[in-house]
Symmetry: C2
Subunit: 218 residues, 2 copies
């Protein structure tokens, strides 16, 4: 797939060799992430909030209570920076200076805008649920008009975006390789454990596959 | 321990019953986190970056290349918002509307300032390494003056801060509990896998405990 354009804003500056701009890499990181961190400015004050998100094609979506500060600001068109970070490991080098982290991250910039049309909003929310739990929209009680009104969905075009990825062992100063100190990587990953049924669930209710064997990523 | 003061800025507004302001809760979340997301404003543009951090008492520390945009801005005193988020589970309710996430997060606000005094900076970096890998500072090649000069350490007072925590099963509308749909929680956590030795490590180099059995949190 085509690369995203490299701009003055999205260009990876520090450790620029870790920058990646191709859709395969960006999509894979976004699709494995369950939460993002959204940064925005209100009255000159920076805010960062963690929130769920999802991607469809070249758009990223956020949702929340229509009464929340973030969503109200989004209703008016909100310039945001959005980060999705997957931590893959601790990189232990032979000097403190070369210690690092293995990670895959995406940072994007743009203006989030609300989806106003109720049926488009409903469809987006349904697709979000089916992204996390394929088929669950059809199983759940459908969203009511009142719930739809109480929910804001923001859409952010995916164009001003870059991925940054570090993998592999430490990179030490050549002279340090002779030092008698252990070096390597401690891999880190997210796992899903056995699903915990709601205490009020009738006994014997079968656990759907998406809960019994939750899969990170597409 | 004493609570942090509740201010107009740190007060948890949405789902305010999830807000917690006591030091035990805030410290525990910060100490389990390995990365934070830092938000700041430069020329009116919001930025969010993921980065490592550590806490000592009522301060949080960040570090990075002295040449980086964030660190250069920090040298001048940078107003930031900082979030640490631990995802604990997917909460699957009987309606889409009541789906949620279990999480523990901390959001703090303040002005980050650089530690200028070289020995104070060196000591802070050494304590950071020993936080991740207890005892490793004494094993590694010490930081050089040049490396110290190339590294900026920012300090942020921990006072304008709140934790937000959701735990437990879904909370459904009373009528929905009768629906024949599975509901519950898919627990999610971070794990550390077996350490991967650097390919250039002499065979038989013993794996230190902090790498063989990495522990999240204090």
């Amino acid at each position: 797939m085509a690369d995203f354009p490299v701009t003055e804003r999205n260009r990876v500056r520090r450790m620029h060799q870790r920058g990646q701009y191709d859709r395969d890499t960006v999509y894979a990181i976004l699709d494995e992430g369950l939460i993002c961190h959204v940064g925005y400015v209100i009255d000159g004050q920076p805010y960062v909030i963690p929130t769920a998100f999802w991607r469809e094609g070249d758009h990223v979506y956020l949702h929340g209570s229509a009464a929340s500060r973030t969503m109200r600001a989004g209703q008016r068109g909100l310039e945001i920076s959005l980060a999705v970070t997957l931590l893959d490991g601790l990189v232990l080098a032979r000097s403190g200076f070369h210690h690092s982290l293995n990670y895959r991250s995406v940072i994007m910039y743009g203006t989030a805008a609300a989806i106003e049309e109720p049926e488009a909003k409903r469809a987006a929310l349904d697709r979000f649920m089916d992204r996390i739990a394929p088929g669950r929209t059809a199983e759940c009680r459908p969203i009511t008009d009142q719930e739809l009104k109480a929910t804001t969905v923001l859409s952010l075009p995916l164009d001003d975006v870059a991925a940054k990825v570090r993998t592999g062992p430490p990179v030490d100063d050549e002279a340090d390789y002779a030092l008698p100190v252990w070096a390597g990587v401690v891999p880190i990953r997210q796992v899903a454990d056995a699903a915990i049924p709601d205490p009020r669930l009738p006994e014997g209710t079968p656990v759907p596959d998406y809960a019994a064997r939750f899969k990170f990523g597409a």
